[in-house]
């Protein structure tokens, strides 16, 4: 499909600007002005609409396809929340208004929403307080680790290490390092669970904390979690909960009750804000009493008279993690989703998410090697090792699914499972769509024996076949205009 730049024709326009009702100002000094026009496309409104409509059709999405992408929780995103985010009272609200004189009076509704959202998330997770400032899950992680660092600094600790299991999301070690720590990796035991002995072996006074996903990335809940917390607390380490995904534990347990001190959550997963092809996200962070003083500023507070305002006066705070109060437009969608579901609705989410994952696991067990053969939580991890013996790899099975109109599961993660295929059906898929996915998987497994070559050639019916990723990195072309210059000949 042509690029928008290739559709550009000199003199076409897709905009209408208000006529100028003020005199044209005198010329700005040439030394500040651009001398060459920015080569943006020139294109009519209709052609812009066609271009992006056609592009959109080249995407799979939850709206159009089964999307069991493990660890990503691609559940249905209710549409009314989009409408709410577009209300003028929210969408047109300037973030600096509360910083004007009398400013808080201008944004009472927005502050109330943030305040109530914090309370709801605290109740769901069992933490004492929450910051809504982080702009995505990984940003929340960094916020959490920075608060851990502030805690240790305040207590005069000289701690260097953060323990991270080998099954962790890649963001965990990356966040720990950016906050100034070194990471110690601990291996999982045979059942995919972190074992107490492995932790004990690396635990000492230099350990600032442990980062844990629970249920972990192979979909297993660690029953020893409270004991692990106790061990880490004994060296005054802090327990970090990677709550990217809470889909398995809503109403079942709360990280705050289990002994965790800090957690982030990715609202686009559990609380169903649309992922947008890679964001925007939102990564609120909850903390226990211990970490309360270190929360980022500003914090929303409610006065005795019922008025809301922002408080910046927390001397031990780690400071500003974002320019403002978080991704407000995302937070409000998650807020509306929580209100819609309520207590019972949220508990049902986990029931159905776990039921669906176990149903998929039970039906596929005969066909694929199951990394850990036991009841799973909201996702299950298979391995394509049996198929790999016939030359068919997880990636080939994934590409076959694409031709069936199904978005593949996550492949090659977690790293601790060879040929990993991580399946998370979510609670919003019906039994019929689960069966359709399962049947396609079984068909792929059958083909791996009878016609492995067919799988190698997939996908066939998409706008493109498999791309050459090596060429992409080698003959780097990330900018149409630079590529155009190269094509025009060597630059002197």
């Amino acid at each position: 499909m042509d690029l928008i730049f290739e559709k550009s024709r000199s003199g076409r326009k897709g905009y209408s600007l208000p006529g100028t009702d003020v005199p044209q100002s005198s010329e700005m000094d040439q030394r500040y002005r651009r001398t060459v026009e920015a080569p943006l496309p020139e294109i009519t409104e209709l052609d812009v609409v066609r271009h992006f409509t056609q592009l959109s059709r080249r995407n799979f999405s939850v709206d159009g396809n089964i999307y069991p992408l493990g660890s990503c929780t691609m559940k249905y995103n209710p549409r009314f929340t989009e409408m709410l985010a577009g209300l003028a009272g929210f969408a047109q609200l300037h973030p600096l208004l509360p910083q004007l004189g009398k400013g808080y009076e201008l944004v009472q509704g927005a502050l109330q929403l943030l305040y109530e959202m914090e309370s709801l998330l605290c109740e769901i997770t069992g933490f004492s307080a929450m910051t809504l400032q982080p702009l995505a899950g990984a940003h929340g992680e960094l916020t959490g680790v920075m608060m851990m660092a502030a805690y240790h600094k305040a207590r005069g600790h000289q701690k260097r290490f953060i323990i991270v299991p080998d099954s962790a999301h890649g963001t965990n070690p990356a966040s720990a390092v950016i906050a100034g720590y070194e990471t110690v990796m601990v291996p999982s035991a045979s059942q995919g669970i972190l074992d107490m002995k492995a932790i004990k072996a690396v635990l000492n006074d230099q350990v600032a904390g442990l980062m844990l996903t629970c249920p972990n990335t192979v979909g297993i809940f660690n029953s020893d979690i409270d004991k692990i917390a106790k061990m880490v607390h004994e060296v005054d380490g802090l327990m970090y909960y990677d709550g990217a995904n809470l889909n398995a534990i809503l109403g079942k347990c709360r990280p705050g009750d289990l002994g965790f001190d800090v957690m982030h959550m990715n609202l686009h997963k559990t609380f169903s804000t649309p992922h947008g092809g890679g964001g925007p996200g939102s990564g609120p962070v909850g903390v226990s009493e211990k970490l309360l003083p270190f929360l980022p500023i500003s914090r929303v507070v409610k006065e005795a008279n019922g008025q809301y305002r922002l408080n910046y006066d927390y001397p031990d705070s780690i400071g500003y993690m974002a320019s403002f109060y978080g991704n407000f437009g995302v937070l409000l969608k998650a807020f509306a989703y929580i209100l819609l579901l309520g207590r019972q609705g949220l508990a049902d989410v986990s029931d159905h998410a776990v039921l669906n994952a176990n149903y998929v696991m039970a039906r596929l067990k005969k066909h694929f090697h199951l990394a850990y053969d036991r009841i799973c939580m909201h996702e299950c991890v298979f391995s394509a090792v049996k198929q790999a013996a016939h030359g068919v790899h997880a990636v080939d099975i994934a590409k076959f699914l694409i031709d069936q109109g199904i978005h593949p599961m996550t492949i090659y993660f977690p790293l601790i499972v060879r040929e990993a295929m991580m399946i998370e059906p979510t609670e919003t898929e019906s039994k019929e769509s689960l069966d359709r996915f399962i049947d396609a998987m079984i068909q792929a497994s059958d083909l791996s024996l009878s016609h492995p070559d067919v799988l190698k050639e997939c996908p066939q019916i998409m706008p493109i076949t498999r791309p050459d990723e090596v060429k992409a990195a080698r003959d780097l072309n990330v900018n149409f205009f630079a590529a155009e210059q190269r094509a025009a000949g060597p630059v002197a």
Binding site: L40, S61, N356
Partner: protein, 437 residues
């Protein structure tokens, strides 16, 4: 389904979560109908004064968003897709992001852009960290004209790292050449500038960019994309890393986010960039297509050695900005910039006739400028609210010595009538305050 699994009850699936793990409380409200939730949030929306006529900027501007922009990004195919890990069924998002990167390069005059970062502030932080990694130096020279919000944020982030900061206050609105040049040394990783700066002043940084380069210092400039419709692009004056807040490119103000952080660099720095990058390639049949590329920099591959911990960025906001830039195009963006400049200049002219107002004239400005009042700006702004205006941003919020100063932003949405109405109200407010003093 339960019988296929081999259990009799859903609760059998939760046995790993033992009774003593049960929540101590789960006291949430009952579920509501969609209608009830909508009514509740409508009620909250009504408690916000979103109908004020906005003359507040500070890096976030009230520009008109053509209806086509949200119409495209609200399509479920863009809205409800995940990160494009499977390129064969994600060409829509991938191509749109490649076009986004190309548009950002077109606007900034740089060689390469990533596929977005969270917002303007975090983009600037990432740029700084990138400069530190690239140069192996640990000292940062930061112009005081850089948004104080960004500066505070950066300082928070680096509190635990051994980074030395030198902040240089502007002189007559523009970057203080002498002091900046004295501050640059062989330990300096980066010089951070902003254009237009927080006071609205436009600068031509060519001279100090050259000086920085002579000292082996990388230059980072934070820019306002609408102003680039008219201003000399940073690529032309030798800037190494450009960042900015992309909210003005078709995103609503939305009380602080989601926004769009953009970053563009010179060729030599491409592989040092954080975040997703989309590249062109071909499929097995030789057809052009797009993939996430240079992933070896990223956290899911490199883990603790990654260039950043960023994972999700703001892909949909980047697509939104692409639609906006495509609609405005080559001419539209220039005309838009000119219109912003004209309105702001008109307002400056009108303000000059108001007693008790002094428009600072030290340097040229784009659509935002600084005025000195005869009285406390906070008080003036507060009273202007009663007249329906968010009249400006009080600089004392971040600069304690500037009690009587405020910045005023004027976009293409402000009509002559609104500006005249503002002037009228301001005269009344200043007269009231004069009496009360």
């Amino acid at each position: 389904m339960l019988s296929v699994i081999g259990v009799t009850d859903i609760s059998d699936l939760f046995k790993d979560i033992q009774p003593h793990h049960a929540p101590r409380s789960f006291d949430l409200p009952d579920g509501k109908s969609e209608f009830e939730v909508v009514e509740y949030l409508r009620g909250l929306a009504k408690k916000n004064a979103a109908d004020l006529t906005l003359f507040v900027g500070g890096g976030y501007y009230d520009h008109y968003i053509p209806a086509v922009v949200p119409a495209m990004t609200s399509r479920g195919e863009f809205l409800t897709a995940y990160t494009p890990y499977q390129p064969e069924c994600s060409q829509g998002t991938l191509q749109a992001l490649y076009e986004y990167q190309s548009n950002i390069c077109a606007l900034t005059g740089m060689d390469a852009s990533n596929a977005s970062l969270y917002d303007g502030g975090t983009a600037l932080y990432e740029a700084m960290m990138m400069a530190i990694r690239t140069t192996g130096r640990d000292r940062i020279v930061m112009d005081g004209g850089v948004s104080p919000i960004f500066r505070k944020m950066i300082r928070s982030y680096t509190d635990n790292l051994n980074i030395q900061f030198v902040e240089v206050e502007p002189s007559h609105g523009q970057s203080d050449r002498k002091r900046i040049s004295r501050a640059l040394d062989k330990n300096t990783a980066a010089m951070i500038l902003q254009n237009p700066n927080f006071f609205g002043a436009i600068d031509d940084h060519s001279d100090i960019v050259q000086e920085a380069h002579e000292a082996g210092v990388l230059v980072i400039q934070s820019v306002y994309p609408i102003a680039l419709g008219m201003l000399k692009p940073p690529g032309e004056i030798g800037v190494d890393i450009v960042t900015g807040e992309g909210q003005s490119l078709g995103l609503p103000l939305s009380f602080g986010g989601p926004y769009l952080g953009f970053m563009a660099v010179r060729k030599k720095l491409i592989r040092k960039m954080p975040g997703r990058i989309v590249g062109e390639t071909v499929d097995t049949r030789g057809r052009r297509c797009f993939v996430n590329t240079l992933q070896a920099r990223e956290q899911h591959i490199r883990r603790e050695k990654a260039t950043s911990n960023i994972c999700t960025n703001v892909a949909l906001c980047a697509v939104q900005a692409t639609v906006y830039m495509s609609l405005l195009g080559r001419k539209g963006l220039q005309e838009l910039a000119q219109l912003n400049l004209d309105k702001a200049e008109y307002m400056k002219g009108q303000l000059e006739s108001v007693e008790g107002v002094e428009v600072k004239q030290g340097s040229p400005t784009f659509n935002e400028f600084t005025v000195a009042l005869s009285v406390d700006a906070v008080e003036v702004i507060s009273r202007m609210i009663d007249h329906g205006f968010a009249a400006g941003f009080p600089l004392s919020r971040y600069y304690p010595g500037m009690k009587n100063y405020m910045t005023i932003a004027v976009t293409e949405k402000r009509t002559k009538d609104e500006i005249d109405g503002y002037i009228h109200a301001l005269k009344m407010v200043l007269a009231e305050l004069k009496v009360s003093v």
